[in-house]
Subunit: 193 residues, 2 copies
DNA sequence: CAGGCCATGTAATCTGTTACATGATTTT
DNA sequence: AAAATCATGTAACAGATTACATGGCCTG
């Protein structure tokens, strides 16, 4: 359901083709919800059949077509309805936590290597999130700018801050995960097996 | 792949039936990786066909059978191999982050309600994680006790601590998410739309 | 003898990933 | 002329959820 909402959410701000949506997810919102093209294109067709979006065909050059989608009224309603409702979090699937539960059966050196790479991966993600947060605070991303066109000027900072806060939260979680992994390394070293 | 490893990891400590594995995931490791019975039973059959586990049939009462699985040597190897290798984290799917990105289009009151329920949910989860962490530190869970039977006594505390650290990490992440949501409420209130 | 727990599954559906396929347009 | 980018998809598989189905055993 959430990918559907991600697409509706973007289309609510700016009509886009499947290709643009795919690129956008990869570049920015993809840091909270990602999906490959092969999932996006069929879903758009289905959403069109459901009547929540409609396509306008555009011709670029002579033969190259693109389908530019926009929300219908049903789509608007579905998005608002979803956004204003609390949805319980899905069940937990945390691979590194699971791996750590069984890490006491491998050598200390191997365990430390796994945790070190994990910490580096999470720090790297955190840096990306922080960069995006800062760009949002500076009103420096295309989609935010388009969003602000339809909002009264005195709300611009509040909207930017609320979106930046999403990425700030993700950054903090990633830093917390990296710190957790380094503590685990400390545990492993303090009492090597 | 991870559910497969969760099952291998438990079976490495104690031979169990599908029902026991299902209950165990629901009760404890389920807090890091959960799955319904309908996913576990077919997977066990498949893993048996793959030769990583083998079943012994037990008869309880007259007709009621249970299949008690244990690891084969191939299973041992697969588990160790997986545990000592770093696996990049899967792509991000965070529904509440996505919802927050579009929360600026609903009323402040609705937004605050969603975030309040989310914070409560995460605090609730954190409490469960903390409880499990404390039980592990006290060596007070059945599976840990069985694990410790096959480890030298001087390593018991280290093993318990490393498993407790998994749940401590999950608890801290949940608390962080709750704090994030409350900050978002603050943002929404400070500049209501 | 009723209610809860033990025990194993199937069916249908939805969601997500990886790999492949095709061809036009634009830029260097 | 080659390389990068724009553009839309299909196929096969893997992973996860929800609902349903069946029946025996154990305790009060």
């Amino acid at each position: 359901m959430s990918l559907r909402m991600a697409l509706l959410g973007v289309l609510d701000i700016r009509p886009s083709s499947g290709y643009e949506l795919s690129r956008f997810l990869h570049a920015s919102a993809g840091w909270v919800w990602s999906a490959p093209q092969s999932q996006i294109y069929p879903l758009l067709r289905r959403m069109e059949a459901d009547g929540v979006i409609k396509a306008e065909l555009q011709v670029r050059g002579e033969r190259l077509e693109r389908r530019v989608y926009e929300l219908t009224e049903e789509g608007q309603v579905e998005l608002r309805q979803w956004a204003r409702t609390f949805h319980p979090s899905p069940t937990v699937h945390d691979p590194i936590a699971l791996q750590m539960l069984f890490l006491d059966t491998v050598s200390t050196a191997d365990g430390i290597r796994v945790l070190t790479e994990y910490a580096a991966e999470q720090d790297d993600r955190a840096a990306h999130y922080e960069h995006r947060r800062d760009r949002l605070l500076a009103h420096d991303t295309p989609l935010l700018r388009e969003r602000l066109l339809t909002a009264p000027r005195e709300q611009h900072d509040r909207i930017a801050q609320s979106k930046a806060h999403v990425f700030d939260g993700q950054a903090r979680l990633a830093r917390e995960r990296a710190a957790w992994a380094r503590e685990a390394i400390g545990l492993a070293r303090s009492n090597p097996g």
